[in-house]
């Protein structure tokens, strides 16, 4: 006999007749059937847990702010695909917390609330590997203690709504709900007015916040403090406890490096591109403008632990990783970006089943950012030998170059007219209208050659930041990559660039 999923569901809902129950019992004698039944039961249990939890979050969001205080959730987490800590442990943690009372009561013969010394809660993580005292730490609650973030990204909420973003590798002590000691690594903090006084201590300095957004980078015996909004006070050494240079106040767009507590901090340029200051992917002017032009696939490169996300989702792919220290994500032009090479674990992205290109026309738009110079690398390609039709790369002269392959296997290339600088975002567009291959940089046409239409039909995939042989790694970031099966007009391209500029200008 066979039992359908529908009948299993009916059984699990208690809606089967006695005869059906007896049949299912017989059917379950087969271990393979038992496995199928167990897996379906798991789905029922997980659906109940997940949907119920989402409803609680949704209602809390509708009701507004106070419900979130002290809870492991923020407005930024709801509706986002990556909520692993919450997803896996929220219900369990609540139950476990209740049960601790039982444990203590049992031991002492009377109920007594457990001593809690919680410093922070995990709001969200992206592929994070956190350890405490050498053991992996999976709890959403972080008691006072020393932690190492060995991999990924972590968003913590301290007391009074202070949000902290940490990037691996990092070693820190959660000292209390209003103080963290960062031994090494990168940290960004958003401090609301009620969180004023939140303090980040480092081996070289103490940073006291006055309601603001700032980042701290501790490495190689120096601490850098970058202020993006508001005001912070930087005490070289430790405030009021050691002899040290005088404290200084930093305002928005100011940054300092402290190498020696006895020496006045050195003013440096603010590094807004270096720090991940949230996990959001804002959909403002540029993204809206792209969507109006109906791309085949749009890769916004959000900071998520679920691969390379496409709109529409059927063209999603994987983030490729290898050795390195920093996550395969970085601050992008709008939200996150794909980080490849340099000191990251990122080795690019691969889409197994990309959209089919069948018109002979094509446009690729993307923002690119080079972190180190002197190495050629791929931005995007679907070419693997004789298959595939396009490549956008940085050639050995340091110029952006677009290559097109026709149905007959002929190739055409066009090269930009300027050297691509490091640490600068550039907007690059490749278009093919069946007669010409064009390359645009920052909205302007920089190269054009006659060409045949692009090869049609399926390809073996698309690679971002690498090629099919994993040879030519991009060393930097790629953001907001969109593919079209038509040639965007020069006006449309200029319009996209303007929308990006307007969004950047705020």
């Amino acid at each position: 006999m066979s039992v359908s999923d529908g009948l299993i569901d009916q059984f699990l809902e208690g809606a089967c007749s006695a005869e059906e129950v007896a049949n299912i019992e017989r059917w379950l004698q087969d271990p393979a059937n038992m496995e199928r039944f167990a897996r379906r039961s798991e789905l029922h249990a997980d659906l109940r847990r997940s949907l119920h939890r989402n409803r609680i979050l949704s209602r809390a969001l509708e009701q507004g702010g106070d419900e979130f205080r002290g809870a492991p959730v923020s407005l930024k987490t709801f509706g986002s695909p990556s909520r692993r800590w919450l997803a896996l442990t929220a219900a369990g943690v609540v139950a476990a917390a209740c049960l601790l009372v039982v444990l203590v009561a049992n031991r002492r013969g009377k109920a007594r609330l457990p001593y809690v010394s919680q410093a922070a809660t995990v709001v969200m993580d992206v592929d994070a590997l956190l350890s405490k005292d050498g053991q992996r730490w999976n709890d959403v609650s972080l008691p006072v203690g020393r932690y190492r973030l060995r991999k990924g990204l972590l968003n913590l909420q301290f007391g009074n709504g202070v949000l902290v973003y940490l990037e691996a590798p990092a070693k820190f002590d959660a000292m209390s709900d209003e103080r963290v000691m960062l031994y090494n690594g990168r940290l960004s903090a958003h401090v609301p007015p009620e969180g004023i006084g939140f303090t980040v201590q480092t081996p070289e300095a103490e940073v006291v916040d006055f309601g603001t957004e700032f980042s701290v980078d501790v490495q190689s015996g120096a601490s850098e403090v970058h202020v993006f909004d508001g005001l912070v006070r930087v005490h070289p050494g430790r405030a009021m406890t050691e002899e040290s240079a005088a404290a200084i106040d930093l305002k928005a767009s100011q940054a300092v490096r402290v190498s020696d507590p006895m020496v006045k901090p050195l003013g440096i340029a603010i590094a807004s591109e270096r720090f991940i200051r949230n996990f959001d992917e804002p959909r403002q002017k540029y993204a809206r403008r792209i969507k109006q032009l109906s791309p085949l696939a749009y890769y916004r490169m959000p900071i998520r632990d679920r691969g390379l996300i496409s709109e529409p989702p059927e063209y999603s792919g994987m983030v490729l990783t290898g050795d390195g220290v920093r996550p395969p994500h970085a601050c992008g032009l709008f939200g996150g970006s794909l980080r490849v090479g340099a000191d990251s674990t990122g080795r690019g992205g691969h889409v197994d089943s990309p959209p089919e290109l069948s018109t002979g026309q094509f446009t690729l738009t993307a923002f690119v950012y080079l972190e180190t110079s002197g190495q050629s690398g791929i931005v995007a390609t679907n070419m693997d030998g004789v298959r595939g039709g396009y490549t956008l790369d940085l050639n050995e002269s340091g110029n952006l170059q677009a290559t097109l392959q026709s149905q007959d296997g002929d190739e055409w290339s066009v090269t930009g007219d300027s050297f691509l600088p490091t640490k600068t975002w550039r907007y690059v567009v490749v278009s093919v209208d069946g007669e010409r291959l064009r390359l645009f940089e920052d909205g302007k046409l920089v190269g054009s050659v006659e060409s045949a239409p692009m090869i049609s039909g399926p390809s073996d995939g698309i690679w971002f930041g690498t090629d099919a042989r994993s040879k030519r790694i991009w060393h930097g970031r790629i953001d907001e990559l969109a593919l079209f099966d038509r040639a965007l007009t020069q006006e449309e391209i200029a319009g996209l660039y303007r929308a990006a500029q307007e969004e950047i200008a705020g």
């Binding site: 999923d5 529908g6 569901d9 699990l12 809902e13 208690g14 809606a15 129950v21 019992e25 379950l28 271990p31 038992m34 496995e35 039944f37 167990a38 897996r39 379906r40 039961s41 798991e42 789905l43 029922h44 249990a45 997980d46 659906l47 109940r48 847990r49 997940s50 949907l51 119920h52 409803r55 509706g79 695909p81 909520r83 692993r84 997803a87 896996l88 442990t89 219900a91 369990g92 943690v93 139950a95 476990a96 917390a97 049960l99 601790l100 039982v102 444990l103 203590v104 049992n106 031991r107 457990p114 001593y115 999976n138 709890d139 679920r306 691969g307 989702p313 999603s316 994987m318 197994d352």
Partner: protein, 191 residues
């Protein structure tokens, strides 16, 4: 007289509290890893969500109360499911059922199967979260009525102007689509 014993700020011997703190942490970690399996087991054995959730809660309390009995050389999940099985049998007895829905032997085999599937369970839960976000709003609404509001198929049918049979079929299709989505996502992550 507290000679030779350090006390904490509320007057408990420090050594005792350290020991209990470690024990609490250990239990919390064990429970967090076992809870999805225990829930799956109880949901497979008890048809009402509310009964199942109450039962999971009671099982967790019993595990905490009897944590001293747990032999840490053996898998916690096996011990948790062993206690879960006893509580499921008790539940049916207290409900006055003339017979168990499953025989004792079948409940045991179900526990073994669920324990053997525990690997990858957290990955499947994560994938479900993502798959839920891709569902059409109509399907999501149906799931909410069933799993959040706790309505029976007949009540969902009344609320949506359908028949209970259609609701059952639709819900089953949505679950099958989700199961397929979960498989695809996991396959994509583990090529």
């Amino acid at each position: 007289m507290t000679f030779g014993i350090r006390l904490d700020h509320v007057g408990f011997p420090l050594a005792v509290r350290m020991d209990e703190t470690q024990k609490r942490e250990r239990f919390t970690n064990y429970w967090l890893s076992a809870e999805p399996s225990v829930s799956a087991y109880v949901f497979a054995s008890v048809s009402s969500f509310h009964d199942a959730e109450d039962l999971v809660q009671r099982i967790a309390q019993e595990l905490a109360r009897r944590f001293d009995e747990y032999d840490s050389n053996r898998p916690f999940i096996g011990w948790a499911l062993w206690i879960a099985k006893s509580r499921v049998i008790d539940f049916y007895r207290t409900q006055g059922r003339s017979r168990l829905v499953f025989s004792d032997a079948l409940l045991g085999r179900l526990a073994d199967t669920i324990a053997s599937q525990s690997e990858g369970r957290s990955q499947r839960r994560e994938a479900l979260e993502l798959c839920l976000e891709t569902l059409p709003s109509k399907s999501r609404k149906l799931l909410d009525l069933r799993y959040v509001e706790g309505l029976s198929s007949t009540q969902v049918a009344q609320a949506t102007g359908s028949t209970s049979g259609s609701v059952r079929v639709l819900l089953s299709r949505v679950r099958t689509a989700l199961a397929s989505c979960i498989r695809q996502r996991i396959a994509m992550e583990n090529p």
